[in-house]
């Protein structure tokens, strides 16, 4: 669960007009269709057993049949991921906001943030079960532990990126700390915050599902996957995986969309 360090080029992905989007969207789509087709063909030709690798068409049709339940389970998993992200992200952002002016404090916390990003946080999941019980509480805690250091690091780098002259300008206006934070540091931090969020939403979803593997309710994607896998219901497992992928992708796209809207003034977003 390592994450790339944020850099000053955070959020450097350029928006493109639709005509140029086509060139980016169509080839991957063709690859996707070809891969699914090949998968279907391989299962057919080599007569692979259903429990080992079901056909994509079979997964698709069960996905449609079970859509209502999958959405319900997905919502529960999303709830855990979301609440964990809210808590962990909140703690990470708040710590960065409190300490960014005090070098020794920020560095002191930064070391542990780096450690937490380097260790496989998911190995803590059984421990959080001991601390917070088998249900949602422990899973939210694990997601928080996984996401807090990401948002701490990105927010810290962002807050510190504020232009030196602009900081002096605020000083010349005798602006208070809170005012300077709100009017200057926060806008500078936003591109980094969004870069961090794009990583954190994905991590939150992964950690939530894996936490659910360790026990608790079956009424969520992780629990469902655990249960169906135990019964070698491979097609059902696949439908939950597809749902998890769809939720992960849509979360990422929502964050990216908000990012693009909020930061339309930013050099990386405004094009020409």
């Amino acid at each position: 669960m390592t994450t790339a360090e944020p850099t000053l080029e955070a959020g450097a992905d350029q928006p493109r007009p639709w005509s140029r989007h086509a060139g980016v969207v169509i080839p991957p789509f063709l690859v996707f269709v070809a891969a699914i087709g090949l998968w279907e063909l391989i299962v057919e030709v080599f007569e692979i057993q259903r429990f080992l690798l079901p056909r994509p068409s079979e997964i698709a049709s069960m996905f449609v049949d079970d859509f209502g339940r999958l959405i319900r389970q997905g919502r529960n998993t999303l709830g855990v991921a979301g609440r964990g992200l809210l808590l962990g992200g909140g703690i990470g952002i708040a710590l960065a906001a409190i300490t960014f002016r005090t070098r020794w404090m920020a560095e002191g916390i930064g070391v542990y943030a780096a450690v937490l990003k380097a260790v496989p946080v998911i190995s803590l999941a059984p421990l959080t079960v001991v601390w917070f019980g088998i249900e949602a509480g422990s899973k939210i805690a694990t997601v928080s532990i996984a996401t807090a250091p990401i948002l701490f690091t990105y927010t810290l780098v962002g807050l510190r990126s504020a232009d030196a002259n602009a900081q002096e300008l605020m000083r010349s206006y005798a602006a208070g700390h809170f005012r300077t934070f709100w009017s200057l540091h926060l806008p500078y931090a936003l591109p980094f915050l969004f870069s961090g969020m794009k990583i954190a939403v994905t991590i939150a979803m992964i950690v939530a599902i894996i936490s659910e593997y360790f026990g608790g309710s079956f009424e969520n994607l992780g629990g469902y996957i655990r249960n169906e896998a135990n019964n070698v219901h491979t097609v059902e497992v696949w439908t939950a995986i597809v749902m998890a992928c769809l939720l992960g992708i849509s979360q990422y796209m929502i964050v990216a969309g908000v990012d693009r809207y909020v930061l339309r003034w930013h050099p990386s977003k405004r094009g020409n």
């Binding site: 232009d163 002259n165 010349s172």
Partner: protein, 276 residues
């Protein structure tokens, strides 16, 4: 506040002192690695005066400006701004500071950039309508009417610096501290900005302390040009500029203008050679 200066005599001998530097010494770093940037600088700038600081790079002219702005503190000597400590003057919002880079907030429109100091200072008795009117007046003064809804990145460098100027003037500080404000602009834009700055100085009652690398710019704009020596910075010579007001293109073409430019250049040459 619109009485124009008709001659240099407007700055009378008994005018109040806006900025007083006394025995200023400034050292950066400490111990063996310290650099003496400025040594024993005495300089008085009168109210409504336009004074330029010129000197070789690293002579501490920007440092003087930053001392007056309370962005840094002197290692020795004292600075008084409007008779107060620089810190008190800063808290009282006595001065506006203009950097070489426009230092605009990209996420704010031109109008909201100019409004920034007013938002922060919450000037008593100023309604939203007053504020809008004030911004309107400044947009016109710096020649930016029609651009209030633009974002900084949609403007040229010269226009961005106009926004920066308007933002510094919007809260009507009595002093403008300008750190090579036009240094990054091309020659043509710079000439135009100089004349406009001079017009604005005449329209408003501000005192301007102006740091520049450009001899013609210093002569054209100033009532006095302060030539500084190479590091550690000292005052080499203070040259009064007795050119007629208003300073226009005609003034720039006069013989006396060229004589003064030559005088400043020679003084600067001596300063770089290591004192008189």
């Amino acid at each position: 506040m619109t009485t124009p200066n008709t001659s240099s005599e407007t700055v009378s001998a008994d005018a109040q002192t806006a900025i007083a530097f006394q025995g200023i010494r400034k050292e950066f770093g400490n111990g063996a690695n310290s650099t003496l940037a400025i040594e024993s600088v005495d300089l008085d700038i009168k109210e409504r005066e336009f004074v330029s600081l010129i000197g070789p790079s690293g002579c501490g002219k920007s440092t003087l400006l930053r001392l007056a702005a309370d962005l840094i503190e002197p290692s020795g000597g004292s600075v008084l701004v409007n008779g107060k400590t620089p810190r008190q003057a800063r808290l009282d919002r006595d001065y506006g500071f203009i950097f070489q880079s426009p230092t605009l907030f990209d996420w704010r429109t031109v109008r909201k950039n100019i409004a920034l100091p007013l938002e922060i200072m919450k000037i008593g008795g100023m309604t939203r309508a007053d504020r809008d009117e004030e911004i309107e007046r400044l947009l016109e003064m710096v020649g930016l009417d029609g651009f209030e809804s633009h974002h900084p990145y949609q403007l040229s460098g010269g226009m961005q610096q106009r926004v920066s100027l308007a933002r510094a003037l919007v809260f009507r500080p009595s002093i403008l501290l300008m750190d090579e404000p036009f240094g990054a602009l091309d020659e043509i834009t710079r000439d135009r900005m100089n004349l406009e700055l001079h017009r604005i100085w005449e329209e408003t009652n501000t005192t301007i302390l102006f740091v520049t690398h450009s001899i013609p710019e210093a002569v054209l704009l100033s009532g006095r040009v302060v030539v500084m020596t190479a590091r550690p910075g000292r005052v080499q010579e203070i040259i009064p500029i007795d050119l007629p007001y208003p300073r226009t293109t005609e003034v720039e073409e006069s013989t006396h203008y060229y004589e003064l430019v030559t005088q400043v250049r020679e003084s600067l040459g001596q300063a770089m050679a290591g004192g008189p």
